[in-house]
Amino acid sequence: MRWIWFAALLAFASATFGADSPLVFDSAEQETRFKKLMTELRCLVCQNQSLEDSHAPLAQDLRNQAYAMMRDGASDDDIMDYMVDRYGEFVRYRPAFSPLTFLLWFGPLLLFLIAAAVAWRWLGAQQAAAGAELSEADDARARRLLNGKSPRKEKQRK
């Protein structure tokens, strides 16, 4: 019930106001550049859509605004700053580098390094243990006795 106005807004999104008139571009490059920029911006009224995908009237207004700025020679950064100044960091689908997002951007690399280090140490320990205890042949025999599995290789038919 708290979200009635969102429902109203969405209903409005489909009303006659949403004039979805196409924009005219000087060149294909400009159109591509514009569309790419629009996919980087999050629509505020929609659940989770970019300005490019959204049919909401506000998204249309913001597209028109960005279009006008682009035609006036604004750079992508100018347009992005314009949106962020008014609507906050929320509109960036690609969060800006900042102390707040370091962990987000370097997280995958960090995770990879941690995982690789763990795997590496485990491998080392495993080899040390196996190497110290058994020779290859002993190992195979022992495992057969201990109800372990023998390796099955791809079939060799040379």
Binding site: W5, F6, A8, F17, L44, V45, R86, Y87, G88
Partner: protein
């Protein structure tokens, strides 16, 4: 073998985050304009196309700026509160009529009552964009120096008005004098 507990520890952290997440509202986006000067604007008035209303007229006093439209269903939910507030005279309420038609706006005010000192007619929504409006109705508290101190998205209710907005207005007024 403490490392056996790592998955459990990570999981507990995750659960803590999710539990906290349940108390948050994911859809309200805070405005970056809080504690920043309100955007300057100058627009025709709803009732008088020839007259102008803008930042100039709101200067020097603590005001509420309410963004509304005749097509906005949930604006009706909060409107009565504004009418009551206006009659109390405690704080001037200005209106920003957002993406509306003049005649619709006038008719709406006639029907539901007009609590606004003046309503600005933002037909193309340009000023709305400058104010970062995205969910009509929205209500701003702007202090005497023209700084935005508070923003509420969606219809306000009695609780918000009495517990949040009015105390802030009184405090800002006090700071002024």
């Amino acid at each position: 073998m403490r490392k056996r507990f790592f998955p459990l520890i990570i999981f507990i952290g995750l659960v803590g985050l999710l539990a906290f997440g349940l108390t948050l509202n994911p859809r309200v986006v805070p405005s970056p304009l809080i504690d920043k000067p309100a955007p300057l604007f100058s627009l025709p008035q709803v009732h008088d196309a020839a007259a102008v209303i803008g930042s100039e007229q709101m200067k020097g006093k603590v005001v509420l700026l309410n963004v509304w439209a005749s097509w906005c269903v949930s604006c009706r939910l909060e409107h009565e509160l504004f009418v009551k507030l206006a009659s109390s005279g405690e704080v001037p309420v200005y209106g920003l009529n957002y993406k509306d038609r003049r005649e619709d706006a006038v008719r709406w005010l006639e029907f539901y009552g007009d609590p606004y000192i003046v309503s600005a007619l933002d037909a193309d929504g340009q000023v709305g964009i400058d104010f970062g409006v995205y969910g009509v109705p929205e209500t701003f508290v702007i202090d005497g120096d023209g700084i935005i101190r508070y923003k509420h998205i969606g219809p306000i209710d009695e609780n918000t008005l009495d517990k949040e907005i009015m105390p802030l207005v009184r405090e800002l007024k006090g700071r002024r004098t």
